[in-house]
């Protein structure tokens, strides 16, 4: 997160953002379920210019054995960015940011997955960011949820995610890279639509208590939109033309 750039126009007098969107509009989102031959489940998402691929293996044996749990399966998540995914080439070794995001995404998925029926196993979620443009953790969480369903991992709900934020004192939906760098606040939100629970929430920036509540609401509403696309992705793969 760089310094705030005061010269970029993030919101013009007509309420149009720097990339032409309105304040409550998400970028173009495309989600595809499946696609990888070897993974047990997979999904691919394009969220604006973000391009993220997720592969899931499991439930499967845990190595080394001492890491397994005798009462329940465990969830492991690895969020990883390719060297060519960002402006300045990133070295292949995991950065502290990637390690933190891996943990945050894992904890956003854990309330949804039901692994008690698979003791001594692990479910591995591998997230690969091929191209990044602001909001990767939300796009990644959204795709990971689809990949887990594709793999047949029992889940009590899907998890959909998008970041809300604030630019020019206005609450907006789906923060892009410029808005993240130069705006006033960025709030990634992850949400289970059926159970109505927020499982991922972070804030970077300054919000009054009223702005905070509005930002959360805008984020949750945005997640519901994203959820419709997750549903569509799974329907397209599994239900052919017979979806309800």
């Amino acid at each position: 997160m760089g310094g705030r750039d005061a010269t970029m126009v993030l919101l013009d007098e007509n309420g149009i953002r720097c990339d032409g969107r309105k304040v409550d509009e998400t970028r173009r989102i495309m989600i595809k379920a499946g696609g990888l031959k070897n993974a047990d489940g997979s999904a691919y998402i394009e969220f604006g210019d973000n391009k993220i691929l997720v592969g899931v293996f499991g439930p499967r044996d845990v190595h080394p054995k001492h890491m397994s749990d005798t009462d329940t399966g465990i969830l492991r998540v690895r969020y990883h960015m390719e060297p060519f995914s960002v402006g300045e080439r990133k070295r292949p070794a995991p950065s502290r940011r990637e390690i933190e995001i891996s943990k945050v995404i894992k904890e956003a998925l854990e309330p949804a997955v039901m692994l008690e029926k698979f003791p001594r196993t692990a479910v591995d979620v591998f997230i690969e960011v091929l191209q990044a443009d602001g909001g990767t953790r939300c796009a990644a969480l959204t795709a990971a949820s689809v990949a887990l369903a594709d793999a047949g991992i029992p889940m009590r709900d899907m998890v959909a995610a998008v970041a809300s934020g604030k630019v020019a004192d206005t609450i907006i939906l789906d923060v892009n890279n410029e808005e993240d760098q130069a705006g006033q606040a960025d709030m990634p939100v992850g949400y289970m639509p059926s159970l109505e629970k927020i499982t991922l929430l972070q804030i970077d920036g300054v919000l009054t208590p009223e702005e905070y509540k509005k930002c959360v609401q805008v984020g949750v509403d945005g997640c519901k939109q994203v959820y419709e696309l997750q549903k569509k992705a799974l329907k397209d793969k599994y239900f052919g033309n017979g979806g309800d």
Binding site: D40, D49, R78, F84, R89, P92, F126, Q131
Partner: protein, 272 residues
């Protein structure tokens, strides 16, 4: 591949029986590679990129070009570096953590194939001699595995480099400055193409698929350039080749390589 995956014995026997009759399990000829698809500019924000499918093996190469310090004794040359990583989502046996010897070998063999052909003209990548040069980084990631990553990775790096655009930098008051709007194609001199052959029993097959790869006794990867010269070679596996087989493989690699070069050129043309 990650740790050893066990091929089922029935399949291995089938592969050998078919080879005795001059056939392969997927119906290809012994010297026939699988279908190759190349998608140029798969990652538009990188300076160059190519996604390659070779059968069901899928790899992605992204090229980043940015200013860098030259190597100590090579102040008049730019930097070229090629890496390869096996992503854990590509196969159930791939582990996370520092790369193991097979992946390191893969990366180094692909790097050598391109470097030894002098494909990237590093003498044209100098901003200020001894102080600042252009670094070209070709990073390859394997997304799905079905045998023969050597060739899949090689084609993706070659195609990505061929279609890369490099920005222009100059020195202004001792600071490296980007010159806006002056992008040009990355200077390249040749198109290296690698061809990997596997040995099963006494049979040599080009581009082994996943099952054939698991049944192989030995393999050899040979890279040739646009002039038909052999520029790099790596033999692997636990069996040996006869002198005649080595010679035969050399000829096959140049012949098959020429055909694959046309596919890469067609993809390059299609993207312009």
């Amino acid at each position: 591949m990650g740790s050893v995956s066990v091929i089922d014995q029935l399949k291995k026997t089938q592969i050998l029986e078919l080879l005795e009759q001059g056939k392969r399990i997927d119906g290809r000829a012994l010297d026939e590679p699988r279908e190759i698809t190349i998608e140029i500019n798969a990652i538009p924000k990188a300076n160059g990129s190519a996604r390659v499918r070779l059968g069901d093996s899928e790899v992605l190469c992204g090229v980043k070009i940015q200013p860098d310090k030259p190597f100590p004794d090579m102040g008049d040359k730019g930097i070229f570096m090629c890496t390869a990583e096996l992503l854990p989502l590509s196969h159930s046996t791939v582990e996370t953590g520092p790369p193991q010897a097979p992946v390191i070998e893969l990366a180094r063999v692909v790097d050598r194939g391109i470097r030894e052909s002098h494909m990237v003209d590093v003498s044209q990548l100098v901003i200020e001699k001894d102080k600042s040069v252009v670094g070209v980084f070709a990073d390859i990631v394997v997304i799905d595995y079905d045998g023969n990553l050597f060739d899949a990775c090689s084609y993706s790096a070659t195609a990505a480099l061929l279609t890369s655009k490099t920005p222009k930098w100059t020195m202004v008051d001792d600071t490296i400055t980007l010159v806006d709007g002056e992008e040009s194609p990355l200077p390249t001199t040749t198109i290296p193409v690698s061809v990997t052959m596997g040995k099963i029993g006494n049979h040599i097959i080009v581009d082994p698929n996943g099952d054939e790869w698991d049944s192989m006794d030995a393999r050899i990867t040979i890279t040739s350039d646009s002039d038909g010269n052999i520029v790099a070679l790596q033999k692997g596996g636990s069996d040996g080749f006869t002198l005649e087989e080595i010679n035969q493989c050399g000829d096959t690699s140049v012949r098959v390589g020429a055909k694959i070069r046309e596919i890469i050129k067609a993809a390059q043309k299609g993207s312009q």
